[in-house]
């Protein structure tokens, strides 16, 4: 398998199918109960997981999202099946943790990862345009650092156990959900927190969410789907391969929304969104910069962590901790707008990412 130059999923058709599958499954998940314009959002769902674990106590966003578990385990299965599971790590782990932390800070100012930015646009939320513009600018700034020698250093192959940590964490989360299932109307079941109202209370059946996550993880591991890579490669190399995946996700979600009656164009009162354009833009500048410096979008980091990449796993853990602190500190936005400490956090994040970009260079 390995000696073949390209498999189906690494062709243009393959990346288009991957994007389209994510777009369709996400919008169908909304029909099945997930929050509107949030069928699958890596940032929002990792934030909900932080809530389910009690790392933050924002009552409306607490749920152990099985989609995230499925994505990591689906990627893990694909990598095992195709002989690509390769435990590795050691490329500036603590820097990747901080990049994950500030990527989440930026994402929660906008209220969504790049996938959700596309899903919001495909659902008619015009505010997403400012977020996507910010994402592009953030990625562009990231490419400037790369062009000036930015480098987090090489990863090394490591022991099998290290590669199994992230899939193991996700499997444990699933076990916790099965041992402590949601009790209607109750905020807590055993050790897990659940939302009684708000987006955290809106979800498809566990099995449906898990299976859809597994499908996305499996396919995207094969195709290397990456939204940040799509824009980055266009800027750096004039290559459009991954970009086709982004366009396919947005178009498929748009058509699916039309069919399912979920398309509602406008800027005001969009679901789980605010219309402070400047902060939507700047939040995604920060997130886009952090994703680019870390080598891929938050979805891609999940796929990589599933195939044994410990550095990607550290980034994911940084995002989960970042979500907890963003909510505890009043940094995260809500539908009413930005939080009391959004601005200083945004400035700090941009400063830290810029220092990392400027100073982490190949010796």
């Amino acid at each position: 398998m390995g000696q073949r130059r390209f498999t189906f999923f690494s062709t243009r058709k393959g990346i288009i199918v991957s994007g389209a599958v994510i777009g369709v499954l996400a919008t169908v998940l909304q029909k099945f109960g997930n929050p509107p314009n949030m069928g699958v959002c890596v940032a929002c769902f990792e934030r909900d997981i932080a809530g389910a674990l009690g790392l933050h106590r924002t009552e409306v966003v607490q749920y152990m999202r099985p989609e995230i578990i499925g994505i990591v385990l689906g990627s893990c299965l694909a990598s095992l099946f195709y002989g690509e599971f390769r435990p590795r790590g050691g490329s500036s782990p603590v820097v990747r943790f901080i990049l994950g932390f500030f990527a989440m800070t930026g994402a929660l100012i906008f209220l969504g990862c790049p996938w959700r930015a596309l899903l919001r646009l495909a659902g008619g939320d015009g505010n997403a345009i400012f977020g996507i513009a910010g994402l592009v600018v953030g990625i562009w700034i990231g490419t400037l650092f790369f062009e000036h020698g930015y480098n987090l250093g090489r990863s090394q192959s490591t022991q099998k156990t290290a590669g199994w940590i992230m899939p193991g964490i996700m499997a444990s989360f699933l076990v916790l959900m099965l041992v402590f299932p949601q009790i209607p109307g109750q905020e807590k079941s055993g050790v897990l927190f659940y939302s009684v109202k708000g987006p955290g209370s809106m979800h498809a059946l566990l099995a449906v969410s898990l299976i859809f996550g597994l499908i996305i993880g499996f396919i995207a591991q094969r195709s290397r789907f990456c939204t940040v890579g799509g824009i980055r490669d266009l800027i750096l190399f004039r290559q459009t391969h991954l970009l086709f995946g982004i366009v396919a996700l947005a178009l498929a979600a748009f058509v699916s929304n039309l069919i399912l009656g979920q398309f509602r164009p406008g800027f005001e009162n969009q679901p789980i969104a605010h219309s402070m354009s400047l902060w939507n833009f700047l939040g995604m500048v920060l997130a886009g910069l952090a994703y680019t410096l870390a080598g891929g979008c938050p979805g891609r980091q999940l796929f990589l962590s599933g195939e044994g990449d410990g550095d990607a796993a550290i980034f994911v853990l940084g995002m989960i901790v970042g979500a907890a602190i963003s909510h505890n500190f009043g940094i995260a936005s809500s539908p009413q707008g930005i939080g009391p400490y959004t601005v200083p956090a945004l400035i700090t994040g941009l400063a830290v990412c810029s220092i990392i970009g400027l100073t982490m260079r190949e010796k």
Partner: protein, 72 residues
């Protein structure tokens, strides 16, 4: 004797950046590229195809692949 690009252990987009830099430096000839993931292998092959370089061989070796590309 062609040039060698060791892109093992590097995350995106660095393997492609290194190969592109080498392509621009030598203009034509042979480049041997070492990568350690299938993603990097595909990305390097895709770059070669888009820049008019021919992929001569891909050999699994160690914990990755040795890719040889050539432009006449």
């Amino acid at each position: 004797m062609g040039s060698i690009v060791d892109a093992r252990g590097l995350s995106c987009p660095q393997p492609v950046m290194l190969v592109l830099k080498e392509m621009e430096r030598i203009q034509k000839g042979e480049i041997v590229i070492l990568v350690d993931t299938d993603t990097s292998k595909e990305n390097v092959c895709r770059l070669a195809a888009s820049r008019g370089w021919e992929v001569k061989s891909i050999e699994p070796g160690g914990a990755g692949y040795k890719i040889v590309i050539e432009k006449g």
